[in-house]
């Protein structure tokens, strides 16, 4: 990655009802966002399997963002609650094993109407990942 301006590759799992809509509205209303978030639309943040997050990291992703509806607003009532527990478990695993992925993994609640918040989350997280630099296992052969 030549050093001109490192734009991190962030895989964003956005829940179809809230986060994806917010992202879409942010795009439509031309809010300034770094082009670093590669969006994967999922029906609910509860649909995000820990293996998706691990696979995104081990395939060279610099960061993973899971964004869903605010607790209590989930279209399926409890999807985001499960997502929260899974994220907590994953963070605990990363922390116990001293993996930097823990800092590169973020769970955010973004309601459908909060386009500016989504832009803010995208910008803030991209900045955070930029500080951490490219993923150390980007070209790890023995994974």
């Amino acid at each position: 990655m030549e050093e001109q301006e490192f734009t991190p590759k962030i895989v964003g799992f956005l829940c179809n009802w809230c986060a994806y809509t917010a992202a879409d509205t942010a795009g439509v209303s031309r809010l300034q966002m770094p082009p670093s978030v590669m969006v994967v639309r999922v029906m609910c943040s509860g649909r995000v399997d820990p293996l998706f997050v691990l696979s995104a990291f081990l395939r060279g992703g610099d960061g993973v963002l899971v964004a869903g509806c605010w607790p209590g607003q989930c279209h399926y009532q409890k999807g985001n609650f499960h997502a929260r527990r899974r994220a907590a478990m994953l963070k605990s695993i990363f922390e116990t094993l001293g993996l930097e992925m823990g800092d590169r993994f973020r769970l955010s609640w973004v309601s459908a109407s909060e386009a500016p918040r989504f832009a803010e989350v995208a910008k803030g997280f991209t900045e955070e990942v930029k500080q951490l630099g490219p993923s150390p296992i980007w070209d790890e052969v023995f994974l």
């Binding site: 820990p50 929260r84 527990r85 605990s92 094993l97 993996l99």
Partner: protein, 373 residues
């Protein structure tokens, strides 16, 4: 104060006698217990006994051998998977096996109906390769000496020396072993549940004086703190960081044996063995372009992290995964350490209570506020 029974016979012998009379009286149809297969160096295996001769003099059944050829929790799941037992069956299992079975029952992989669960305070077991080279026999005297003092023999598996749940909680009958000086001549059974008491009450051929005593004796508390200290030391020894993880699993040959023997890993077709992980050549080639090289078979670290994500919440630290690893990787130390921290996060102890939901299957409205930012 739990109601107990004191039998003036050695623990192994007393329990064999109990099982023999249970079978003969027809109170149980079968007994799952450790025993010697007929082999020359007498391989040790779990067996489903239905003939009481196995429990007399030189019978094959030896319930308290310090050896774990398979996790009996997984075996009880195999026994009761396709329907609960019609008639009662007894099983002599170690505390971690009992906890593994309860975790499996929560996943509807077995049922507790008609099962008489007999367990004991556990002094740990020897690694598989000790048994493989016939080294079990000569270690028995040393093992029982350590158990009497409430110590753990140094040859015992690290994961057992670090086990803080060596006192069973859900057994119908608990046999006191750890810290019992006179376990060669005396045997104390605690009847933890009515079911346990019902099975034993009025069982002819079993002379014992009833007593009420405390399972948590002083040697057990001492052993508990010793093991907890060893556990800190063992967990501190785990090399953390991605590069260290890659070095630790460098030797992994991708045989997935740790998954096969893990009682909590019950999927009939694991994600990592399924078509989802049989990639098209183009995917290998694009990875090759990006990284200049990739390991085959793939997903070595991904398999370990993925299995951790699935199992860590219920890992009971039974140590089978390290035992079967052909590459001598300390898998169970890593899984126990991560399991302990994940379980602490949800304040959950696997195998403690069959009615308690598995943490990832339930939630609280207000919790873990620090996770989402």
């Amino acid at each position: 104060m739990p109601e107990g029974l004191k039998i003036n016979k050695g623990a192994q012998e007393a329990v064999r006698e109990l099982l023999c009379s249970l079978l003969e009286s027809g109170r149980v149809n079968g007994v799952l217990a450790l025993g010697r297969t007929r082999g020359a160096n007498g391989g040790v295996a779990y067996s489903l006994f239905t003939d009481s001769d196995a429990f007399v003099a030189d019978g094959a059944a030896l319930p308290f051998l310090p050896f774990m050829p398979a996790n009996a929790g997984g075996l009880l799941s195999r026994l009761t998977l396709k329907g609960s037992l019609a008639g009662p069956v007894a099983a002599v299992v170690k505390p971690c096996e009992l906890r593994a079975f309860i975790e499996l029952v929560k996943r509807s992989q077995g049922s507790l109906d008609n099962l008489l669960l007999i367990s004991s305070t556990c002094g740990g077991v020897y690694p598989l390769d000790v048994g493989a080279n016939g080294g079990l026999e000569e270690r028995l005297p040393r093992y029982w000496e350590a158990v009497k003092q409430g110590e753990v023999d140094s040859d015992v598996r690290p994961v057992c020396r670090a086990c803080v749940h060596f006192v069973p909680e859900n057994a119908d009958i608990t046999v006191a072993l750890v810290g019992e000086e006179d376990l060669d001549t005396q045997c104390t059974l605690f009847l933890d549940t009515e079911k346990g008491a019902a099975f034993v009450k009025g069982l002819e051929g079993l002379q014992g004086t009833s007593l009420s005593g405390e399972l948590e004796t002083e040697p057990i508390q001492r052993s508990h703190s010793q093991r907890a200290a060893y556990r800190e030391e063992l967990f501190a020894g785990v090399e953390v960081g991605m590069q260290e993880l890659i070095r630790t699993f460098g030797r992994c040959i991708g045989c997935h044996a740790c998954k096969t023997v893990c009682p909590i890993c019950y999927c009939s077709l694991c994600y990592f063995d399924s078509q989802d992980c049989e990639y098209l050549p183009e995917i290998y080639e694009s990875e090759l372009e990006r990284k200049g090289g990739l390991r085959l078979p793939p997903n070595t670290v991904f398999f370990q992290l993925g299995r951790l994500a699935h199992v860590s919440v219920s890992c009971v630290g039974c140590g089978m995964c390290t035992d079967v690893c052909p590459a001598d990787i300390p898998v169970s130390t890593i899984f126990s350490k991560v399991g302990t921290s994940v379980q602490a996060l949800f304040d959950y102890q696997p195998g403690k209570d069959v009615t308690e939901e598995i943490p990832l299957m339930t939630f609280e409205e207000e919790e873990l506020a620090q996770v989402a930012t």
